[in-house]
């Protein structure tokens, strides 16, 4: 029975060697934070870290993962306190939220490789698809995380967004 190391824990997995990691995580181990979006490595909703590298888990087969260390969104922090998760809250990034586990995992890997990414670095690394159009806030949250200005409570809300895209005009109440 193949063994797998996920979020620091070892699992014996009763699945065929050609099972994509995505489905091992979701259906066998029960970690549903990692999402299915396309099954073809095109959308990034299933992004996890394999030995620290952002990897589309729908494209990696169980049989190839001997001795690999896998980190999923559930393993990022116990309570959502990872700096990137805090940045995501500070910039109020998610909308429907479905793609965001993958987005966050991709961003964490990016910031590990390039702690001060420029716009081109962000564009090159963040190839995940979001149908809600959270891209402007994804870029903003990565900048916040890189600058270390995400706050501690995550309760700053969007009103504190640097370079906010919103502006209120006109009279009203």
């Amino acid at each position: 029975m193949p063994a797998l190391r996920v979020n620091g824990r070892a699992f014996e997995v009763a699945a065929e060697a050609d099972t994509p990691l995505l489905w091992v995580l979701r259906d066998t181990i029960g970690l549903t934070g990692t999402k299915y979006g396309c099954g073809a490595g095109l959308c990034g909703a299933c992004t996890v870290h394999v030995d620290g590298v952002a990897t589309r888990s729908c494209q990696v087969l169980l049989g190839s993962l001997k001795d690999a260390n896998i980190t999923t969104i559930e393993g990022l922090s116990a309570d959502g306190s990872h700096p990137v998760q805090r940045a995501w809250i500070a910039a109020q990034v998610p909308q429907c939220g479905y793609c965001q586990s993958g987005m966050i995992m991709a961003a964490v890997a990016l910031l590990r490789d390039k702690p001060r990414p420029n716009a081109a670095d962000i564009a090159a690394a963040m190839t995940n698809i979001c149908r809600c159009g959270t891209y402007p806030r994804v870029a903003q949250a990565i900048a916040l995380a890189a600058a270390g200005t995400t706050g501690t409570t995550g309760a700053t809300g969007a009103t504190g967004m640097a370079g906010a895209t919103g502006a209120n005009k006109g009279g009203g109440r």
Binding site: A15, T19, W23, D27, T32, G33, T34, K35, Y36, G37, C38, G39, A40, L42, A45, T72, I73, L76, D79, G80, Q85, W88, I89, Q92, V93, P94, Q95, C96, G97, Y98, C99, S101, I104, M126, T127, N128, I129, R131, C132, G133, T134, Y135, P136, V138, G154, A155, T156, G157, A158, T159, M161, T165, G166, A167, N168, K169, G170, G171, G172, R173
Partner: protein
């Protein structure tokens, strides 16, 4: 600003109307709904992750509110959270009047129940987007009649950008009534007059004595007190919560992976069903060789479903692998020869037919005949898929106590009806548990996946999650209709439009969903946005030629506006060009009598630096559109490289959505609507060959990525008018703004989308 005064009068009248229509003050729940809510306290109905059903004791105050002895404030939301922020904006409405402690507010998905029906969306559809009553007695009478007419069609559904518009008064009123009852309970306890008491931050205070009691302590007593019939709502100037950008309540669970979407539902003993419907619309399974897959690992059964087949296994992957190996022979039926070219040729031929009149101002025919010049402009827009990030899925369990359905659905009543039919039980035996939705955009207003899940779960006698592959999702959508439209515009000697005839050839969505709404006037979802233009066009005709095809069509973010706005706002630009006028100047001229709309246009133009020179190969385009009660103007900048590559570096958006409930959600929804519309306008196209949808995944139905996303600046005008919608109105203007910018950059006019095919490289 006179909302406070209007409200008082409206309440009295709508209260009276409710006595007759029984629709506006839905406080009496049907028994099944009440049972479902109660079970929510045990956690049985809570699957959203946002819901934090702890099992603590609590009291139901009304259909939307439960207060726990632990001071928790649980607000039940009967609208679906699909990214648009209703799990924050709607609780804010209730909490503002309840005077609770916002930090204690939790959201729980409401069950399917009459209390949560969406009357507003039907009224909006019947009136072509004018559901809100006009001030005065005549307006109230109209609203009363409209509510009566809309009532029979009213269902619990999230759509039409109606959640805040429809909830604005009922939810605030529910909060105020609950506050009155909590105060009354405290006053009775103390033996004082309620008038001496004050509620603030989850406590009722008696000022004179200094006594106070918490909502948690008062809830049980308050639940037994009658609800006051009439309450006075706070004027906007007294709001503390509404109008502020509080952090969204659903986001903490969405950054940790804890949020439960439909695909994440797990039930004891649950099986997974991979679905394959006929690749040709209307086809059926002729034969299946189930023996070929039954011995594959984990496979439990091969089940016939309407128009297709499912393989059920103990994991998603095993089910889908076996499905791929399953030999299926299809009876492709009558549509096996269908292709997009044929469909559009039929649409083009239909342009010569007389359409059903959707709007008439003055005499367009006579004005055309007498015009100094005529423009005849034909536009074509493709079928589009929704491609929600979470593919279609549904989990069902059929047992002796009835049917449980866990669904990422926009349509709880539709899901309930579908499940009841599929299981052969009455609707009151079906419990709908709404999960988070991994995108909706109108696709999840349909219940085809519910039928499948229930059919399979019933056949197997075990809980089943039916899940579609991305390809299945792409090929079995209810698509944004493809459409061909013609504008004939008469210009006077000065180049100004004196006649406007807009003919729309388009499949009908409502024929399938609500045919009765097309008895008195043409399908509003086909003509909305073409009718009611804000411009001073005195001789105008809009007519509709219905052309249904075998391709299923449905609601796609902004629905008819998604195509009509492209046509009207492209055409206005062509009028400007024909008359040698600046596109902004022409629009301003035609909006002389409409200062509220013109202010939005002006703000977008000035923030975008309209008129400031751009580098060669670049251009700026503007578009304006009124939809779902909101006015949106957008300016797009397009840069076309020598090799034809198109970039959109920047979009500036201005919106007047009236009274703003949550300013940051407004900004987020404009960003969202713009990127959704831009993706479609640049590259979105669904085509058919041999009766089959040709696209299957994100390689051939491409999506905009972060790298291609423009900078988006959003400017919100707080006009203080009644709230407008925000989920959809950002989408319609971006396609014409893009095409107009492309013209400014290249001199090439785009009358066919997507741009990448029609005009680009």
């Amino acid at each position: 600003m006179s909302i406070g005064r209007d409200l008082d009068r409206r309440q009295l009248l709508s209260g009276a109307a409710a006595g007759i229509a029984g629709l506006l003050l839905p406080f009496s729940l049907e028994p099944s709904a009440r049972a479902a809510i109660v079970s929510g306290t045990t956690g049985a109905t809570s699957t959203t992750g946002a819901a934090s059903a702890t099992g603590t004791a609590g009291s139901e105050i009304n259909a939307w509110l439960r207060i726990g002895t632990d001071e928790s404030i649980t607000i039940l939301i009967g609208r679906s959270e699909m990214g648009q922020g209703v799990y924050t904006a709607l609780p804010m409405l209730l909490a503002e009047e309840l005077e609770c402690d916002w930090r204690r507010v939790r959201v729980e998905a409401a069950p399917a129940a009459a209390a949560y029906r969406n009357l507003y969306v039907v009224k909006d559809m019947l009136t072509g987007g004018h559901a809100d009553p006009a001030p005065g007695l005549a307006g109230e009478m109209r609203d009363w009649a409209l509510s009566l007419a809309a009532g029979p069609f009213s269902q619990q559904v999230t759509g039409g950008s109606t959640s805040v518009r429809g909830g604005f008064e009922p939810l605030r009123r529910a909060g105020a009534q609950a506050r009155h009852r909590l105060i009354a309970a405290a006053a009775r306890n103390w033996g004082v007059s309620p008038a001496e008491c004050l509620a603030r931050a989850g406590l009722v205070h008696h000022e004179a004595s200094g006594w106070s009691l918490s909502y948690g302590a008062l809830a049980a007593a308050a639940a037994d007190l009658p609800s006051p019939g009439s309450v006075v709502l706070k004027p906007p100037g007294a709001w503390r919560l509404l109008g502020t950008a509080v952090p969204r309540l659903d986001l903490p669970a969405k950054v940790t992976g804890e949020a439960i979407f439909g695909i994440d539902v797990r039930r004891p003993g649950m099986l997974f069903a991979a679905i394959m419907a006929s690749p040709v619309f209307g086809g059926r399974v002729k034969s299946v060789d189930a023996a070929k897959v039954q011995s594959l690992p984990g496979v439990v059964a091969v089940v016939a479903i309407p128009d297709g087949v499912a393989v059920v296994a103990d994991s998603t992957f095993r089910a889908s692998r076996a499905l791929a190996a399953l030999p299926v022979v299809w009876d492709e039926g009558a549509n096996a020869g269908l292709d997009t070219a044929q469909i559009f040729e039929g649409f083009r031929q239909a342009l010569s037919e007389e359409g059903r009149i959707a709007e008439r101002r003055g005499d367009a025919a006579a004005a055309l005949a007498g015009a100094a010049r005529q423009l005849t402009l034909d536009y074509e827009l493709p079928f589009l898929a929704h491609a929600t990030m979470e593919p279609m899925n549904c989990t069902a369990e059929v047992g002796p106590d009835g049917v449980d359905v866990w669904a990422p659905t926009q349509a709880q009543d539709g899901a309930r009806a579908a499940a009841a039919t599929a299981a052969g039980v009455s609707a009151d035996r079906v419990r709908i548990h709404t999960t988070y939705l991994g995108g909706g955009f109108g696709r999840r207003a349909e219940s085809d996946m519910v039928t499948q899940a229930v059919v399979i779960a019933k056949a197997l006698g075990r809980p089943v999650q039916a899940i579609w592959s991305r390809e299945e999702d792409m090929r079995h959508d209810f698509y944004r209709p493809g459409t061909v439209q013609r504008l004939r515009i008469g210009l006077d000697a000065a180049g100004l439009p004196v006649a406007w005839h807009h003919r729309i050839v388009c499949p009908s969505i409502l024929d399938r969903i609500m045919a009765a709404a097309t008895w008195l006037k043409p399908d509003q979802t086909s003509v909305e946005g073409a009718v009611g233009l804000p411009y001073d066009l005195r001789n105008l005709t809009v007519d509709y030629v219905k052309r249904n095809t075998p391709v299923p069509v449905g609601f796609w973010r902004s629905v008819g506006h998604s195509h009509t706005a492209f046509v009207t706002e492209s055409a206005i630009d062509e009028v400007a060009a024909a008359g040698g006028r600046d596109p902004l100047a022409l629009r301003r001229l035609l909006l002389r009598g409409n200062p509220r709309v013109r202010a939005v246009l002006d703000l977008a133009a000035s923030e975008a630096g309209w008129g400031r020179p751009l580098p060669p190969g670049s251009g700026r385009g503007i578009a304006l559109h009124v939809s779902f009660g909101s006015i949106v103007a957008e300016v797009a900048e397009v840069a076309v490289a020598a090799d034809g590559t198109i970039r959109v570096p920047r979009v500036v958006c201005a919106i007047d959505c009236g009274t703003v409930i949550h300013p940051d959600i407004v900004v987020a929804q404009m960003q969202s609507g713009i990127l959704f519309g831009l993706t479609a306008a640049l590259a979105g196209e669904i085509t058919l060959a041999k009766g089959r949808i040709e696209q299957g995944n994100f390689d051939d139905y491409p999506m905009l990525h972060l790298a291609e996303s423009p900078q988006i600046a959003v400017h919100v005008i707080e006009s203080g008018e009644r709230p407008g919608g925000v989920g959809e109105p950002g989408t319609p203007p971006i396609a014409p703004a893009l095409a107009n910018a492309f013209y400014a950059a290249t001199g090439k006019r785009i009358r066919r989308l997507p741009l990448m095919r029609a005009g680009g490289a």
